[in-house]
């Protein structure tokens, strides 16, 4: 983790030269995992997530089956080489928590009751981390699920917002994340305007939080446009 005492915002410009309400460069590619039912690679600046979705498919062990609904299983995993200092491979407290919050943020969007006794599996691999990895994963997961043909109420769009050097900013990168006064992970159903994930770390006043939520909503709508564009593009070229 890189801690710095330097100012991260100078003359309204952030460390990577962005304005306060400017997103990093976002790239989305679909169908990159051949054997998956749906897959996507999403990058927000230097953060890259590879996501694969499978299902609905048979669920074993059988005691996990629910007779009236299907279940969603999510796995968030960070590659050892994704960060500056080698991350110990395998699950950790952090990845277990993130797997859970990602599952909770996707669940409201999926018609799980259409698949009793079955499961939908989502695997999120962070191959390069530079802040906001969970929201990058959620954006990719929603693309992968849509491509897998899973019935959904809406796509799920996520972004991070926060407070850096006393200023409210969107889409925090790694160094901002580590030195922020507060950061908020946010996911929503853009067409329904419903929030499915809201996590906060740090200190914010109520007014600041409300302001950040509005900024996050606007940002999500921008990201949603990119998501719809990439999904449509797949069926444009023959």
């Amino acid at each position: 983790m890189v801690k710095t005492d330097e100012k991260l915002i100078v003359d309204g410009k952030r460390v990577d030269g962005r304005a306060l309400n400017e997103l990093r460069k976002i790239e989305m590619t679909v169908d990159i995992v051949d054997r998956a039912d749906g897959s996507a690679q999403v990058s927000f600046g230097n953060t890259i997530a590879v996501v694969a979705a499978y299902g609905p498919r048979e669920l074993y062990p059988r005691f996990l089956q629910e007779v009236d609904t299907g279940i969603l299983r999510c796995r968030y995993n960070m590659a050892p080489f994704a960060v500056d200092e080698r991350k110990h491979p395998g699950p950790s407290r952090r990845s277990t928590e993130l797997s859970k919050v990602i599952r909770l943020s996707l669940e409201p969007a999926i018609f799980l009751e259409d698949f009793p006794k079955a499961t939908i599996d989502v695997f999120i691999e962070i191959v390069q981390a530079d802040g906001s990895t969970r929201v990058t994963g959620i954006n990719g997961a929603s693309l992968a699920l849509a491509l897998a043909g899973v019935p959904m109420r809406d796509l799920v769009t996520a972004c991070s917002v926060g407070k850096v050097d006393g200023e409210l900013v969107i889409d925090l990168n790694g160094i901002e994340d580590n030195n922020s006064d507060a950061d908020v992970a946010f996911a929503m159903l853009p067409n329904k305007e419903k929030i499915t994930l809201l996590q906060m770390d740090g200190l914010l006043t109520k007014e600041e939080l409300m302001k950040l939520l509005n900024m996050a909503k606007e940002t999500c709508k921008e990201i949603y446009k990119l998501q719809t564009k990439v999904l449509r593009q797949k069926y444009e070229v023959v």
Binding site: G38, G55, P56, R57, E58, A118, A146, G149, L155
Partner: protein
Amino acid sequence: MKEQKKSGSDTNRNVGKVRDIVLPGEFIDEKKGRRVGKGAYFEGDKVFAKVLGIPIVRENQISVIPLSGAYIPSINDTIIGIISQVEISGWLVDINSPYIAFLPIADAVDEFVDVARTDISRFYDVGDVIFCKVSKVTKDKTVRVSMRGHGTRKLYGGIIIKITPSKIPRIIGKGGSMINMIKRKTKCVIYTGQNGVIWIRGVDKAKAIKAILTIEKESHTVGLTEKIEKMLSEGD
């Protein structure tokens, strides 16, 4: 299946043109008392897409044909299954779905069978391919298939390919035009199951498979029959 046929008959055929698609959560149309079919859901008086697919808006129904997704069995579907296990009084059948189907002996064999004395694998054994019909699906998706009904049979030899189940109507074409053309041009016997499993036996299997996979890949475009006809005629 009918919906697909209807939309396949666009009058101003523009070969290679892509049909409009909707994404999950996108608004399709006002409900106006119409029925909301598969692939769509409604909130209040608005109908939204549930899956990524082609919207079908008609006088009495709004639905979406998905472009991908697993097969969810429904009653009276004709499907191709593979026997995966032999039980005491029936068989478990893999139907290319999240759910396994059961074929009871009463729905499979005409003669009287004393299950206590007979090893029923002499009728159907593991790995056998059957063309059968879904006879019952319960709310929690317990599936039963039957060998009674028109056209059901055991399929010998041949090879199996799997495609996206929602694209089967496109493979069959309007009134069977597409599949009949493939059968004629490749001299193959082809069975299509609504679960996305296709069984092929015949002379030019490779060509038939190539045609089917092309249809699957380009099912959302207009004027596909002409393209496939041209493709199959090459090298004649």
